[in-house]
Assembly symmetry: C2
Homo-oligomer: 336 residues x 2
């Protein structure tokens, strides 16, 4: 009975952009179990997170279409019979966005416009759930951060993600595409990119712990963050995709409670049974865009769709460590 | 003594992007009088507002370089010796942005990144004053709107202008470019584009009044707006360009007090001594992105640099009507 929103996906025609990536592939796994008709769209750009290993074992139960969201005619074709689109394609590295702002713009702004124009012109009734990010808030004025907080990003990636999110709201309000955005906090779990350290620290820390290496924490590690396990994020997308109550709005999707970097690393090293930690000075270029403590209030999403995070951090870290221990070569070698 | 910030421009190497446009050319006129070294950069894209008639009589006292802000290598060259850059190049039509979002993105996002990258790589100490817009606020939660109000644009143009503004702040905070944004409200005055009605209603209304034609107001005309005369906006740019007190921040630059569309049109018809008004139903596609009443609080800018609007609306409208009466063919014919 509480799973009506999950049953709703049976036979439903769903498309996931960034579908071979971390969150996209985890949504795909849930959807094939619910017997949805699943189309994954992914550009498989090296270094971005798409990985065919992410759909190991479910390849025959879905379709994969390699394509770039910036390609208008391809998107026009792919969206046309899709009832729900989980829109997760993106360039997610803050660091890369500061080195090469134009590529970040092309993917996180222009690519979103391309997908939305495809819907506007060829499937105006589509339901689109966008993967937003808590990065759009920048350095918080108050904690926890709710959706009434100013959007004031501190890096190029955050700016472009904010624009991508706003496009969804405008297309909802003006062109009838039913769209919303989930502002995800720090997400972790199986199938996250851990091959390099430019997509956020949590995946990288997990890799170092699994490899028994040294984790470097900037400053004294007292900064707070909230973390959410990928299965809870999948549940958030499924809920948002199945209801019109979220259309035209933005929702924080965050962890149950904040934890300091210091305590997180301690918990992770325990889960991994190895690795060490060292506290080092902040590199100045990282300090310049650092936002201090951040954690979000997901009460609005909870009230609207009944979602709450269920997997405790300790449990999530254990599952994640176990996954990478079994699959490490597939996630640290060159992409296949 | 109060004009020290104006004297500061004597001999100063200034660049104005969008320099042949409405506000840009008015800044240029002030700067040549102050004996600054003025370089105007403008793409002269038809329909966008650049007009060589705007610099009539001052052509020999400045340089014009026709170029597009999206062109990286050109921008790299042009910025290198400039001390102050007034960055006004943009696509400013809300309507065009909804018809052709990608072009709006290219100019208002990518073009801004191009200019800022040029500064980062070739003139990191440059001072950049960006022409922001009150559109980034969208439909206001409260009035008057100050800078603490959420950024929640209702059209593509507003989204891209918000991104363009955020880039300036990030380049200020991270790359040492000294940048700020002035969020302009409804600006009016001589040299505004009045050739078509896709760049806001005020210029169009002024043209109709000067031509003795009928002005159509949507709804009952009770919506409030604030208007600021272009000379006051020029003064705002000159103040912002000459001080580091504004770096890394955004400031509303608005009119002294709000007025309803109804009263504005009445005042305008009186100033023009002709024309009529008719109240008509809202077209649905315009209603969808309408924001109701809006007026801004410019107190922060006033406190920071001492600016306040000086030209009363009645006086500004009279001056504007007089200008267009004398120059109408140059502003309603095909661009030269």
């Amino acid at each position: 009975m509480t799973d009506a929103y999950r049953e709703w996906y049976r036979g439903r025609r769903v498309m996931i952009t960034g579908g071979l990536g971390f969150i996209g592939s985890n949504i795909a796994r849930a959807l094939v179990d619910l017997e949805a008709d699943v189309l994954l769209v992914d550009s498989l750009i090296p270094d971005y997170g798409g990985n065919l290993n992410n759909i190991e074992g479910i390849e025959s139960r879905l379709r994969v279409n390699v394509a770039d969201v910036r390609q208008q005619s391809t998107m026009n074709y792919l969206v046309r019979d899709r009832e729900v689109i989980f829109n997760l394609a993106g360039q997610v590295s803050h660091i890369d966005s500061m080195r090469d702002p134009e590529t970040d713009l092309e993917i996180n702004c222009r690519g979103q416009l391309t997908l939305l124009e495809a819907c506007r012109r060829h499937n105006a009734g589509a339901k689109v759930v966008f993967a937003g990010t808590r990065q759009v808030y920048g350095k918080p004025d108050r904690l926890p951060v709710d959706e009434g907080h100013l959007v004031r990003p501190t890096d190029i990636n955050g700016i472009n993600k904010a624009a991508g999110e706003h496009y969804h709201l405008v297309y909802n309000n003006v062109f009838g595409v039913r769209a919303c955005s989930l502002r995800l906090t720090n997400v972790y779990g199986p199938r996250q990119l851990i091959r390099h350290n430019r997509q956020g620290f949590i995946g990288w820390f997990i890799r170092l712990a699994v490899e028994g290496k040294e984790i470097q924490v900037f400053g004294d590690g007292s900064q707070l963050r909230d973390f959410v396990y990928v299965d809870d994020v999948v549940d958030a997308f499924l809920r948002a995709g199945s209801t019109d109550a979220v259309n035209g709005d933005v929702f924080n999707v965050g962890g149950a409670e904040p934890i300091s970097h210091r305590d997180l690393v301690e918990m992770l090293l325990k889960a991994a049974g190895g690795g060490t930690v060292r506290y080092v000075e902040w590199p100045p270029e990282k300090k310049a865009i650092d936002i201090g403590s951040f954690y979000s209030n997901s009460g609005k999403f909870q009230r609207t769709v009944g979602w709450s995070p269920r997997v405790p951090l300790k449990e999530g870290l254990l599952r994640t460590v176990e996954f990478y221990r079994e699959n490490l070569p597939r996630y640290i070698g060159e992409p296949s």
